[in-house]
Symmetry: C2
Subunit: 267 residues, 2 copies
């Protein structure tokens, strides 16, 4: 069992990704696909006159401020356009994919954080009305039910709070939670860079291996959204996942390329 997370940044080739996933699935590889949709959400949010708002926490993590209107735009893009686009590609390859958000069957469940701290001009502000959360529980029953019956789950945020409210959860960390809960052999975090870079954005400075015991010390090299990937990787390997690979989603066979060891391997 492997968990493949593909980001939602520009430059990702979803046709190549889905062809690769289909090839592996048909060869008998059990897998779950998780995806993002960030760049397209930003575009649609701008077009609908409700531009995205990003906040930086005091500990340096960047995330989307998700008020109710943003949540609905987020659901339109992640659960609608992106999720169904990926399911359609897989169905076109003869793979019986089933697209679900973390709300469905409460696949991703966690505490709803209504208040967030945001650093603006060096000052910490409290923002209310946020719909975010961290995945604390994964509905493995539903995922196993689908897998055992030949359906490939294609998952996306948001998740559900314990009260059933939609909450935006980080896709990388949600994937780590899924991989941990299902005791996956590998978690692949694919995006539009080749892996963790020592000197971002110099792609020649790729870090190829990170010992599991030292993953947190590599956090210093992570920029922006890469920080959550490193955090997710730490959570996954500490949770018993065999290895985590940060790979490049812009290549021809991105899943097989990463599985062959290209990228940054944490184990």
């Amino acid at each position: 069992m492997i968990v493949v997370k593909v980001g939602g940044s520009l430059g990702i080739d979803y046709d190549a990704l889905c062809a690769d996933v289909a090839e592996l699935w048909k060869a008998g590889q059990k897998l779950i696909l998780v995806h993002g949709g960030s760049a397209e959400t930003n575009r649609v949010a701008e077009a609908l006159g409700h531009p995205p708002q990003f906040i930086t926490s005091p500990s340096g993590y960047t995330s989307r401020f998700t008020d109710r209107e943003t949540l609905e735009i987020f659901e339109m893009v992640y659960c609608g356009k992106m999720n169904k686009g990926i399911v359609e590609r897989l169905q076109g390859h003869g793979v019986n994919a089933v697209g679900l958000s973390g709300l469905d069957g409460r696949i991703f469940e966690g505490k709803h954080k209504d208040k967030v701290r945001s650093v603006e001009d060096g000052k910490v502000k409290i923002l209310r009305g946020d719909h975010t959360g961290t995945v604390e529980q994964v509905n493995t029953h539903l995922l196993n039910l689908l897998l055992d019956n030949g359906y490939l789950p294609v998952l996306t945020p948001p998740g559900s709070s314990f009260e059933g409210v939609a909450v935006n959860v980080d896709g990388d960390r949600a994937s780590a939670a899924v991989a941990t809960a299902l005791k996956a052999e590998a978690l692949l975090l694919l995006s539009n860079i080749p892996g963790l870079l020592r000197d971002f954005p110099d792609e020649a400075s790729l870090i190829t291996d990170i010992p599991a015991s030292e993953v947190e010390s590599f956090m210093a090299f992570a920029q922006d959204r890469m920080k959550k990937k490193v955090l997710g990787a730490a959570e996954a390997v500490q949770g018993g996942v065999g290895k985590v690979i940060f790979g490049d989603a812009r290549v021809a066979k991105p899943v097989q390329y990463a599985l062959a060891g290209n990228g940054t391997t944490v184990q």
Copy 2:
């Protein structure tokens, strides 16, 4: 087992609908919910600068012309905002709902119609690039798998062509196909009118009963989108569904109200 279809027109109270569905579900009523999203799709399509285009077939049926861009907007609203909004409401009532499109697991499968005939100024034109289809096959395996494991399926168009291409399918007729495939006791088609009206839009002219054998002769009273409901009802009762009720989705407990016989009952 009952199948409840709720439309996507203005004036529908989804909070009331979901509270009612939750009450029935918790009392042990097996059901599947199917929904639309037409009005909101029109609004978002306008806002995104790709206004909706409706066509009328030579036999008088109105439908949305669904080019690739329209399909993506359609998916955003139906599969994203509407579907996840309904799932969230049900989860808030403690019902473990699972939202799926007809693409997922190929729940709704049929032939892709790329060309459609449209009557414009009395002339028949052929339009290409349409993504529509009619449901010919329902994946009852996946629906039963979910129901048997305590999950309430919340379904929405689009469906899948036999080749795996996303196709816009009519929600009323898709619901009729689901009800027929699952041998449902009843199919409820709820919208923002009280049922089939003899003199549309005079709500006092409600037709309360239609004998199953005569349903097609009542087609003369159906206006616009009501035509597909009458067609769906005919398909369902001829397919063995116990009864079909056209009910009002604007009332306090719309499902129980219709089940009590309010609306137009076809049986």
